[in-house]
């Protein structure tokens, strides 16, 4: 198991006592007086035309307060980039989890019974469920009137192609001709799910013309914006509060069912609460990990230098675009990978199907794309007879190198990640040699940091205690807790003197929330800036009292002292008490967005995903055993090394890496959505198998800490998504090492591994 290094500081989780005693409230734990129970009525067919939707019997059932449909909310299309959907289906349903109606009733059983009384007739339409067939001229369209959608930005669209991006640098075709060896590969990844252990819940209560919504959302401000847009309400009349959140992993990003429940509560004239079943959590949200087809052709010289790559990626968008418009460009970046490739030509399309919509699940597009490109990389290494680590050493980006898209990187630690992870694994293999059906595998990966606007208010109160009011959202990572450390450091007080008020849109300045590994990066910069304003005020106050220059005042250990004069100091609490009688100690800041780098490649369908702010790098190296008779793979060790800049909360950081790796093992071996005619066949935890405590391997983690400029506070970068990227790829390479050929479908289930072994025998 992971050895907890003894020099880690004690982990401070302000929400810890709530969570271990059961006193902390999650959304489903809340009740308000007069509350009705909500239940949604879903389409349950992948594609069809609504011939009849009659809610009369449901409305008449005793104990039912309201039943609403598309007729009861504003008739408008919404979604970022391509508004292509409605809250409730009208005319056509495009995936099984599409919402037809919502019911509010006196109890859950009555609500369920009312849903069963809704009379629905849906005429089946042809199901679009094959990415390549969907591109053909004669394919049925998921959206007949796609051309009329008012898309924003540079998004080439065509029939079932929702968005398209390409990245081109140099002349890849000519460069390919100069290669000594050319390797082509094709990989297919199934879709998968975020699977937070808390199924989502939404509770809405109207008071007059304003609504308060408690919801299990990672992004309260985005949820508020969605409610305002779809119900046509001014921002001021919608308050979104997130109680404790039981995990998200992207599955609870975006705007989901908040507006349905708010509209229902209004119609029912009483508060309404929706709690999803596990099955609904699998079927309905527009955030699942997209399935993907990756085709790559790469040319290398005999001494293992990549000279050209051409690639094509097809991404399953599902029925509606949600936040996936940028996926093609991001996937293209990942199939290029953190390599120096002088000539490249990548194309990626986001393809409409009648599947559940895809959306940002922890590092969207990256684990699948990394699995494909890193499997391909091992094939390249093989083709020129190089060890996989050595092949990577010769081609990855180092400090000062230009990446394939033409961004020149500052100080980065990918080479050190590769060396450290490989060395850690090698040391283990030297100690315990590989067994007869064991092999090692290695993969490198990268992931961008996202800089966006975020604000924070900080106040120091009359007793010197501090309150941070932030739009940050704690989804479990502990990143919000780290904000207290930053403020404490700026203000010279203890983290325990600081309380954080968060997850409430009515009190906090706007911010991105728990999405894109941004809590520390963006909310952290805002808290840092707001705290500095108060620190400056404290220095002025102390300077006047101590007859020193403000620039010489040092805030530390609860004291304002003078640099170089050990005797002179004032308690910060005393300064706060006098400020309370005069100028209050208030800080309020909106952190400026860091400047983004530029790229030289030609980017068609540019979604801002080719130029990476403060890129994070990692290498995972694994030991895997495969049973050749059954195809069952077992991951025995994972050695991870990550460059995520400065690490501010070591235990939290280790927790992110370990959790990400275990999720990655699931994606590698067991987690994949099985579909039949567009319907999910394994929407339950017995059929969709997560890793259990009995499955997990030994994990060792190292951080290559680089104080990164133009990034998060104190030179930090993001970390929550990066650990989830390289694991499946490294496992794939180890499995290949045992069985001698690549498993070209993800997840690499026992059956698929076994079939690959059998095919190789023939």
């Amino acid at each position: 198991m992971t050895v907890l290094s003894s020099d880690l500081p004690p982990f401070r989780r302000a929400d810890g006592p709530d969570k271990v005693t059961g006193s902390g409230r999650y959304t489903a734990d809340l009740s308000v007086t007069g509350m009705a129970y909500a239940k949604l009525c879903f389409a349950k067919v992948a594609h069809g035309r609504i011939r009849r939707l009659d809610v009369t019997a449901a409305r008449e059932l005793a104990g039912v307060f309201a039943v609403i449909t598309a007729d009861d909310v504003p008739d408008l299309l919404y979604s970022p980039v391509i508004p292509d959907r409605r809250l409730f289906a009208r005319d056509v349903v495009r995936f099984e989890g599409e919402v037809l109606a919502a019911v509010a009733a006196v109890d859950a059983e009555t609500a369920e019974r009312a849903v069963s009384l809704i009379d629905v007739e849906i005429e089946p339409l042809p199901v679009v469920n094959d990415l390549e067939a969907a591109l053909k001229e004669d394919s049925p369209l998921v959206h007949e009137d796609w051309e009329s959608y008012e898309a924003t930005g540079d998004t080439p669209r065509d029939r079932n192609v929702a968005t398209f991006s390409s990245i081109t640098k140099g002349d890849a075709a000519s460069a390919m001709d100069t290669a000594d060896v050319v390797v082509s590969s094709r990989y297919v990844a199934d879709g998968s799910h975020a699977v937070p252990i808390e199924p989502r819940s939404v509770l809405a209560q109207w008071e007059g013309d304003a609504v308060t919504i408690w919801t299990s959302s990672q992004v309260p401000f985005e949820a508020r914006a969605g409610v305002c847009e779809t119900l046509q309400l001014p921002t001021n009349r919608v308050r979104v509060i997130v109680p404790h959140l039981g995990g998200g992993f992207g599955g609870k990003c975006g705007f989901h069912f908040e507006a349905h429940v708010a509209a229902l509560a209004k119609a029912a004239k009483r508060p309404a609460k929706l709690v999803f079943s596990r099955e609904e959590e699998f079927l309905a949200p527009d955030r699942r990990r997209e399935s993907m087809i990756v085709e790559l052709t790469t040319g290398v010289t005999n001494d293992g230098e990549i000279v050209a790559r051409q690639g094509r990626v097809l991404i399953d968008n599902g029925a509606y675009v949600a936040d996936a418009a940028f996926f093609p460009q991001l996937a293209a970046m990942h199939v290029g990978g953190p390599y120096r490739i002088p000539a490249i030509e990548l194309e990626a399309s986001l393809v409409y199907t009648n599947h559940q919509p895809s959306g940002s699940v922890r590092a969207p597009t990256a684990p699948q794309a990394c699995w494909a490109v890193e499997s391909h990389t091992d094939e390249l290494a093989d083709a020129v007879g190089l060890d996989p680590v050595e092949f990577r050493r010769r081609n990855i980006v180092h400090t000062g190198d230009e990446g394939f898209a033409g961004q020149v990187y500052g100080e980065i630690g990918l080479d050190e990640c590769l060396e450290r992870a490989a060395a850690s694994l090698a040391a283990s293999v030297a100690e315990v040699p590989l067994g007869s059906h064991e092999a090692t595998g290695v993969a490198v990966s990268w992931w961008p940091s996202f800089g966006v606007p975020a604000g924070a208010n900080v106040k120091m109160q009359e007793d010197g205690s501090v309150q941070i009011i932030t739009g940050a959202q704690e989804c479990g990572t502990g990143a919000v807790m780290t904000l207290a450390d930053i403020a404490a450091d700026e203000l010279g007080v203890e983290p325990s003197d600081i309380r954080i008020v968060y997850q409430d849109t009515a009190v906090a300045p706007t911010g991105p929330g728990a999405t894109g590994s941004q809590t520390l990066l963006n909310h952290g910069r805002a808290v840092e800036a707001a705290s500095r304003q108060i620190a400056d005020q404290l220095r002025e106050l102390a300077a006047a009292e101590l007859e020193a220059a403000a620039g010489d005042i040092v805030l530390a250990d609860g004291q304002a002292g003078v640099a170089g004069s050990p005797g002179a100091s004032l308690a910060i609490a005393d300064l706060a008490a006098s400020a309370a009688q005069a100028d209050l100690l208030l800080g309020s800041a909106s952190a400026p967005v860091p400047e983004y780098p530029t790229v030289s490649a030609v980017c068609v369908g540019d979604q801002g995903m080719a130029a990476w702010l403060a890129p994070q790098f990692s290498c995972h190296a694994v030991r895997v055993a495969v049973d050749p008779d059954t195809g069952v793979s077992r991951v025995l060790e994972v050695h991870a090394a990550h460059d995520s800049g400065t690490i501010l909360n070591p235990i939290g950081a280790h927790g992110q890496v370990e959790g990400g790796i275990v999720m990655g093992i699931g994606q590698a071996l067991t987690e994949g959505t099985q579909l039949g005619e567009g319907l999910q066949r394994n929407a339950g935890l017995l059929e969709y198998k997560l890793q259990t405590i009995a499955d997990v391997p030994t994990i060792s983690t190292q951080f290559v800490e680089i104080d990164t400029p133009n990034a998060g506070p104190r030179g930090s970068k993001g970390l929550a998504e990066a650990p989830n990227v390289a694991t499946a790829a490294a496992i794939a390479n180890a499995i290949r090492g045992v069985i001698g050929s690549s498993v070209r479908t993800l997840p690499m289930t026992a059956e698929r591994v076994w079939s690959t072994i059998e095919e190789a025998r023939v």
Binding site: P17, K19, V20, A28, P124, I197, T692
Partner: protein, 181 residues
């Protein structure tokens, strides 16, 4: 051609409501006289009528362990256990773990970093408590088996194992010193 999707009233929806019984449940040493339908599961009663929401529901189908409680010391998925069957037995939920201070498991799981979103934590703690009652000094393998019914999506489990191991050693130390005294 048209086909109806499956919204027609299914036969079991017309089944007569389960009968209502008077039961007394003893939760964390407090007894609660209740009128309950015989079909009610224990987790919904704990979270509803009893008002203790520390017990979580992650699947309602015996798959995740978030709803784990102890019945006379035995770990049970309360989502899949009838409330009326728990009458007359000692039910312990996560709210019953701490005394004036946190239970060592609660303290150690926080210290080790074994809590992230915390949604699995109550169930995890109850399984761990039951394990340590049965097996005071479990091996890592025994910890893994003992907690294998509890899914955690956040932590990767390593720190949870660490916390259970630390607690077993701590409690063993307490036992030894009380024997010596």
């Amino acid at each position: 051609m048209t086909s109806s999707s499956e919204h027609a009233t299914s036969p079991e929806k017309n089944a007569p409501a389960a009968s209502v019984n008077h039961v007394e449940l003893t939760v964390n040493g407090v007894s609660y006289p209740l009128h309950l339908g015989t079909d009610r599961n224990l987790s919904s009663v704990l979270r509803g009528e009893v008002g203790l929401t520390g017990t979580k529901e992650g699947c309602d189908d015996c798959e995740c362990g978030a709803c784990m409680v102890l019945l006379d010391g035995q770990p049970v998925n309360s989502c899949s256990y009838l409330a009326v069957q728990a009458a007359g037995r000692a039910i312990t939920t996560v709210e019953g773990l701490a005394g004036d201070d946190l239970h060592p498991l609660q303290r150690n799981i926080l210290a080790a970093g074994g809590v992230q979103c915390g949604f699995c934590t109550p169930g995890m703690l109850m399984s761990a408590e039951a394990l340590l009652e049965r097996t005071p000094l479990p091996s890592d393998e025994e910890i893994r088996i003992g907690l294998s019914g509890n899914l955690c999506r956040c932590t990767g489990y390593a720190r949870i194992i660490e916390a259970v191991r630390a607690t077993s050693v701590e409690l063993d130390g307490v036992r030894r010193s009380s024997v010596t005294e």
